[in-house]
């Protein structure tokens, strides 16, 4: 009798839970679906046809327009985004891991203080740094160059925080001690022993920083004037601002948005498990 009641209750709960999740999934996926549909339409159909239904399939021609506008500047923007994000994250991951490893594995005075400074850095709003950085960079003539965006991007206090946690957990002291007894230098130990043990964590740190730089908008906007140096975000933002004067740009903004998020979505899906490890240790604190 009691069992029956519970079973029926849980069936109702299950249906309710599924309904909530389906509604939320539609909410999360709808804008992306809309973008896919809109990217396949000719400019004229954007306003005249229903936004969620396909009309004339014009994707290839839209892509052609996108990549040929202003002498193919979109490809340049994509390349720039890749240089800033992949280059910045690669260098950033290496230096964060060196520091995090040292903070976890070397005994020295002041390491807790140093770690607190790093933690404080996690809480600093980076956009508040952009304007003073602009003034500092303009006094050394770095403004409006690749370096103006690249150099600040390599600094990731959150990466050091993650690296310290990972190194503390994944690299046993005993292995380091025995490598030292064999006469290996600290850098050799780091690159041949610790680096291997930490490699899944390195991917996590790299991913977080890659996305952070890829999404960054305020810093490049403050630093860059030459449109050939723009990352995709800033480039599309500028095009979007011109659509009232040049309505034909609208279709390229849409197609460009789609093109720019697809690689990231693929990388995300392929590297899912690395997110989970990073987020779990991030929340342990």
């Amino acid at each position: 009798m009691r069992r029956g009641v519970i079973a029926r209750e849980s069936r109702v709960t299950k249906v309710a839970a599924m309904t909530v999740m389906v509604v939320l999934a539609i909410y999360f996926l709808l804008p992306i679906y809309f973008l896919v549909v809109a990217a396949t339409k000719p400019q004229g159909d954007l306003a005249s046809t229903f936004g969620l239904a396909f009309s004339h399939f014009n994707l290839w021609s839209n892509l052609g327009t996108l990549f040929s506008l202003q002498n193919g500047i979109f490809l340049q923007w994509a390349l720039n985004s890749l240089i800033y994000a992949a280059g910045g994250a690669a260098v950033g991951t290496l230096v964060s891991t060196l520091a995090g490893y040292a903070l976890a594995k070397f005994q020295f005075r002041g390491r807790e203080t140093l770690f607190s400074v790093v933690l404080g850095g996690v809480l600093v709003p980076t956009t508040a740094l952009a304007l003073p950085l602009f003034l500092l960079f303009s006094s050394v003539h770095l403004v409006d160059t690749y370096w103006a965006v690249f150099l600040p991007s390599i600094v990731s206090p959150f990466g050091v925080y993650l690296a310290r946690i990972f190194a503390g957990g994944a690299v046993p002291d005993e292995i380091l001690e025995s490598a030292r007894l064999d006469g290996a230098g600290e850098f050799r130990i780091f690159f041949s022993v610790a680096f291997k043990l930490l490699s899944p964590s390195l991917v996590t740190i790299f991913l977080f920083q890659f996305v952070g730089i890829w999404n960054n908008f305020f810093l490049p906007m403050v630093m860059l004037q030459t449109d050939r140096l723009y990352p995709i975000t800033l480039g599309l933002y500028n095009w979007n601002g011109q659509t009232s004067r040049v309505p034909l740009l609208q279709e390229s903004v849409i197609t460009g948005s789609l093109v720019s998020i697809i690689p990231l979505i693929i990388v995300f899906l392929a590297l899912q498990r690395f997110w989970k490890t990073g987020l779990a240790s991030g929340s342990l604190k």
Partner: protein
């Protein structure tokens, strides 16, 4: 309840205790630290000090409007000017309203999804997890561009559906536009926060639930009385990061400003700082940046202290 949670916390603590190796030469330690801490000093610490210094300066002129200008020490003059600016308070008020509503709503949705994914109630779990996390792959600017099409009266399928059932939505109206921005932020960040909370839930040992189930607790009771209290640190983390994010709001309103006249160039504190800097008043802009940073620090530290004290009591 505290008895149940105790073993988890204790194992977490003993796992986190690290000793490390002694006797590494100071020169070697510096060699490991310098590649991070030198750029950190140059691009984090120096700009902060520089902004603090700038914010204490004023530009004066020798005689009238056409006199030569020179920079002098002005004490807190820039700060006084900043807080006397009605646009400053307007931007602070909007961001406060935004944060008080958007952050709890977003975290509540994230928590519900995380709990559902952790419960036996759902099917297609990995699909739902991916769907919720997908927006995190979309840069803020592009998310705002996407949503701006969904808000636009001419292009939006959402608007045309609502109009078909007799509604007259105006997503870009004077009051609505703030919540349209809030929606973009919620869409972007719910999945990320959900995954933080979900990862925390996944690390709770299953045995904790067995005892509760034997006592006749249902899924709802387990979720509210066991799961949520245990993942409180993760909830605090996500709240702090959301507060920091809210105070930095720039890209989303800047994009929507391109299609809505109801967003001014000083709509958020960050937009205000940028607008002032564009007018070459760097000292005033520095003062606003410093205020934003201090408010961020006070709020995020304050929130952590407040919640940790409550947890100890």
């Amino acid at each position: 309840m505290t008895n149940l949670a105790a073993p988890v916390i204790r194992t977490a603590k003993s796992r986190r205790r690290r000793r490390g190796i002694a006797g590494v030469s100071p020169r070697m330690i510096v060699a490991f630290l310098i590649p991070f801490f030198l750029p950190f000093l140059l691009f984090y610490i120096v700009p902060i000090i520089y902004a603090l210094w700038q914010s204490l300066l004023v530009v004066r002129r020798t005689a009238g409007q056409f006199g030569t200008s020179y920079t002098a020490f002005g004490g807190f003059e820039q700060y006084v000017q900043a807080v006397q600016n009605s646009e400053f308070w307007g931007s602070i008020g909007r961001i406060a309203l935004f944060g008080i509503v958007q952050v709890p709503v977003m975290l509540a949705i994230a928590l519900v999804i995380a709990l559902l994914l952790d419960s036996p109630l759902l099917r297609l779990k990995s699909f739902f997890r991916i769907a919720a996390f997908m927006p995190y792959a979309v840069p803020g600017v592009i998310a705002a561009i996407m949503w701006s099409f969904l808000y636009s009266p001419q292009l939006s399928p959402v608007v045309s559906v609502l109009q078909a059932v007799g509604l007259k939505p105006d997503f870009l109206g004077p009051t609505a536009v703030l919540w349209s921005i809030a929606n973009v932020s919620t869409w972007l960040w719910t999945g990320y926060n959900m995954l933080v909370l979900f990862s925390a839930l996944q690390s709770i040992p299953q045995e904790l639930y067995e005892a509760a189930k034997l006592d006749g607790a249902n899924n709802w009771t387990i979720a509210i009385r066991i799961k949520v209290p245990i993942i409180a640190p993760a909830l605090i983390m996500t709240t702090v990061f959301s507060i920091i994010g809210t105070l930095q709001l720039y890209a989303e309103p800047a994009v929507l400003r391109q299609i809505s006249s109801n967003i001014s160039s000083t709509y958020t504190p960050n937009m205000l700082a940028y607008a002032i800097a564009s007018g070459n008043n760097y000292q005033q802009a520095a003062a606003v940046s410093v205020i934003i940073a201090i408010v961020t620090f006070v709020l995020s530290f304050g929130f952590m202290k407040l919640t940790s004290r409550r947890a100890e009591a």
